[in-house]
Symmetry: C2
Subunit: 727 residues, 2 copies
Amino acid sequence: MKTKLEMSASITLPAEVGEEHMVVELAKKWGADAIRDSDGTDLSQEMLDLGLQVYSTTCLVRAEQTYPRQHMDQLPQKFLMSDPVTASGRALVIDPMSGFYREKYVLDLKHAADKYWEVINRTTGERVPVSKWKFDPRTGKVTITGTIPFHVYTVSFLVFQVWDTTSMYNHLTNRWDKPRVISVDPYHKECWDHLMAYYDQYLAAHPQTDVVRLTTLAYHFAVDSDQDSVDKFRDWTGYQDTISVPALEDFAKEHGYRLRAEDFVDEGYYNAACRVPSERYLAWMEFIHRFVVKFGKALVDKTHKAGKKTAIFWGDHWIGMEPYLPGFLKMGIDIHVGAAEDGVALRRISDTPGGLVKELRLYPYFFPDVFREGGDPLSESVSNWIKIRRALLRKPVDRLGYGGYLSLALKFPEFVDHVAELCDEFRSFKDNSGGGESLKAPVKVVVLNAWGNWKAWINSFGAPQKFLVKRPDVIQVAGTNLLECLAGLPVEVRFLSFAEVEKSGIPQDVDVIINDGDAETAWSGGRWWANPKVVAKVRQFIHRGGGFIGCRGPSAFQHQGRYFQLADVMGVDKETGRTLQSATVPAMVAAKHFITEDLDGGADFGTRETFVYVCDPATELLAANGLHVMAAAKAYGNGRSVFFGALPYDLTNARLLHRAIFWAAGKEQELRNWFCSNPQTDCAWYPMSQKLVVVNHSAQAQATTVFRGDGKSSKITLKPHASKWLD
Amino acid sequence: MKTKLEMSASITLPAEVGEEHMVVELAKKWGADAIRDSDGTDLSQEMLDLGLQVYSTTCLVRAEQTYPRQHMDQLPQKFLMSDPVTASGRALVIDPMSGFYREKYVLDLKHAADKYWEVINRTTGERVPVSKWKFDPRTGKVTITGTIPFHVYTVSFLVFQVWDTTSMYNHLTNRWDKPRVISVDPYHKECWDHLMAYYDQYLAAHPQTDVVRLTTLAYHFAVDSDQDSVDKFRDWTGYQDTISVPALEDFAKEHGYRLRAEDFVDEGYYNAACRVPSERYLAWMEFIHRFVVKFGKALVDKTHKAGKKTAIFWGDHWIGMEPYLPGFLKMGIDIHVGAAEDGVALRRISDTPGGLVKELRLYPYFFPDVFREGGDPLSESVSNWIKIRRALLRKPVDRLGYGGYLSLALKFPEFVDHVAELCDEFRSFKDNSGGGESLKAPVKVVVLNAWGNWKAWINSFGAPQKFLVKRPDVIQVAGTNLLECLAGLPVEVRFLSFAEVEKSGIPQDVDVIINDGDAETAWSGGRWWANPKVVAKVRQFIHRGGGFIGCRGPSAFQHQGRYFQLADVMGVDKETGRTLQSATVPAMVAAKHFITEDLDGGADFGTRETFVYVCDPATELLAANGLHVMAAAKAYGNGRSVFFGALPYDLTNARLLHRAIFWAAGKEQELRNWFCSNPQTDCAWYPMSQKLVVVNHSAQAQATTVFRGDGKSSKITLKPHASKWLD
């Protein structure tokens, strides 16, 4: 059973020195039972004495700033790839740091370049022999001799990171002029010992702290910056910043082979989450994960020994902790805090295995990026909360919290009032649920991709999102796709990797497989779809009665006459320049189908051109733009498949997915148990409390018919954004 | 020098029995000097005596219908691939003919299936051993044993074609009930002898014939039909229908290796024109081409011996004649007739090497598909002619002609009047030009693709055209792309293959390379772009001062961190799921650029989403939709490159290409010699006659400023569609 903090309050408030009276007032208004410090804020004695639970935040690897400045060879390292440079003659000089921010990275002059670095001819793909290139530590440049004119060359090289990524973000966002923070890498034995000693002191110096909130453990996620400090690459789940030479050497000893620079720079794609991971890179991730668990466990043990609890924040230096892998629970963490801007992020926290207390850190963060003259934190919060609440109906969490500068939030009184209502609504959900989850439909869904539990509930945005002009850097685009639709549906969801399917097949209890992602990404699966074992097991699962839902580039991989390897299952394939002279199979959009029954005026699939065509006369076309298939369905043996060209999140598409899952599972007759007729509304039945909640996701009043589990139904009207509990 | 037929008339009229008086009248009205028969029409003695030149049409391989019915093993053969079938157990029965039109194809029961056919596991790509499958000639089915459950299998098999493709089209279009035509394959020695004897008789039986019009030689282009006779595949330039067992055996003897069924069915893609050809398939094409030239020369020699000329029609059984390869001229043909619906088709004829008389067969063909109740042959003709005339300004032909049933055309008197004007305008061009070509700008362009002169001036339509709903079958979509824009520009154009570049580099006199085509097609080049020699030679050409214009998927091939292999040259690359987490380089559309100077209100690039992004800060963005690059320009060494997301034909885009070519060549200062300010108009200067023509391509009156070669200019106003000659 869960060890719960007090039920009725369950809100964590960020405190700020000099705002003590406001902290008291807001704690009351929002019903907070805990206060915490944030980046750049501290707790005064006065606040510690308020009688609230005290969370103290620390990030050990960036906490103490004397050690790193004295041990510059123990800073986090990473492999970078220079810009590709084209030779125009028989020699070439490359400045590897060109295009990178020189205040964040410095070249590693400690370790032999000719051992760790690589120069690659990107025209042929061959490594240039070490004898043909030379790194000059004085100029920082690499000279290559014997280049082939008009071939392209890159240098893969090691750097130290001399500015912590979060610190840099905070400095640039807040225009700070205080000293820059440098992180260290605890993989170095001396550093480890230093951090452990430091943590002992920290615990001793914080007698009034109830919960130490670690932010987080050892390695930051990757944000790379160009020469002007503008983001050029971002991977919130990536292991790019986990490099140290001792770790590379230990890995080689353990595995019997050395990882190359190319294993990390990956042709310049850096093993981003969208890339299908190589076996070698997965082995590295596994290696680092084990180390992080060891590091985390050592800290948790110390915390517990000091009589305190440990919270972990799923952000910043979280790489390697892997909350969905078994190693995570070995650390013994008590409270799991995660930032959440949408339903996917909520599910990311709420679905993690184990009985930890789960706390959401809501957006907006009280920071000047949003809380500024002309900013609109209220709209952002409402939009986030509606999505979060929708998913909360399916998987609850225990606590909410905020972070940042309280003083900034106080300048927006409407926002403060809205948060009070939000907190009340959250507590009403906790109290009315009876402590249990809402009833799920008898349909089990797995999301199949190349990562499985390595990246469960990680949003996979696609090319259309990348091409939106939002801000010049690249960010995870929240709630843009099928996963957000799925986050609020009344079905159990798990994540499964192709490697697991290859080894063990599809688990017996699965009803429907979802494969959603841009073609040739890890989310779709890329080369895994040319793996005969995988593709045969998936086909067999469907043929025997399973359901398959493909979205965007499902099973996409060019192989033996097909782009969609499951074209036989889905009845559609994609034009990639190979069948331009072949006709599509003529098809008309079906006038009526279970999946599209609630569709009123069409759906927005986020694209007008899928270049997907019907390739089988047995395919039922559900939506199309000209010959571009937007949605289709097909029987396959005893099973069924559904294809969606794309499924960006909105309530219409969520309903399409809802119905598609039930149709694919062959359980259409189960749909109208605890179901709302109006797709703008949702309901959830809590068996433990025998209570029903009905919610209105929209900004307009909505009428809806609620179908109960016994086949009876009743009409109900809800105010904008309202939730209503019924017995 | 050209041997010309009479200059002042130069029109070929299709005659029809029973319409003798109309033939006379129309010959006068249209200025015809020749008459010809068409498919399904004959010339009566009365018409032969009219005093006009007589063209007699014959297609030897389908002319005589007794021989084929007595020699059913000498019909044209082809390799087909069955639909892919998924095994659900340990054995599988495939009906190879399922999905094909059984009235067109019959299984080859003469030649051993286990020698020529193949069964392939498309999940693994492996051939199934002959011992594991058996063809039953009684049922026509193949039984495979030891199949792996849920792997996909195909059968590649040989058929005879028992219905000539053109005959089938005519029967279905005209609802004919006369006997079906069967073609034969002259590769069989006995068949060759029969055809030669038949041709001797034919010549003797046509004493009044001046010109024998061969339609065409030996092998039809490919049109495959599904079970309901609907087109499923079409390749107007393809060698799919050139198969015979003796030819396969002779090829094996000559080359020392055997071609497999897979070399022909090509995973089901059938080596369509859009496919990057394999070396083995090109060797087959070369082999067949040599045979066709031999066959053609034998016929031409007989024709000349009989004191007649030979015309060849570039259609129907034309495969293997290859007008842009040196073999073509060896045949000694006198008159080269080609169907033309747009500027590209005109250039296809007018640019062929050698001093042949060139004749256009204009559309619409006098057939019930257009000349029916409610049909609009006039609009089709005007729209075609405007495009043809635009290209005619750059490369002239000698004659025009029509085909089909004259009686059908006569039902559309406005059309008949319009053709009279059209013929007059054509003759005015011939007469005013002084017999020479118009002046070309000092810019030489090559179009670089995987085919070079194998498919010069062949339109490469792309996926957007395939996804238009036009008719259920697949047709060559006329005038849709960059090539149509190019057809009317005042520059010399040649075609070049990657194989030629690999062997000999870029010819010295080339100023600008154009690479235009959907990614991963033969038009773009596919795997050729990973060929280090090719890519280095192209880069070197540009670096030394050459121009490069890429359109759609230029240099697209995934290799070593790039999708566009010339991303360094063009400064743009395409998102294909590998760089979703990498930022684009920020760029603003240039307010002013030489290329876009005549752009007034934007261009229609035929797509809103290119997924092409700026990857180099030196790139000049010329047009964009959000972050989707529509057009960009960049300097590279001493040269320049231009990228277009797509360039469907319209006059705005033609002007963009016009300026892009001059900019890429570094010859901006040469643009305004013999140039019209208004992109709806064009002019051409004929040095031999010292005359200038100005034309209005639009359906509205246009004012334009004409810049002459001496820097002077004058204003002129033109009526809709008008052309005006000036001294």
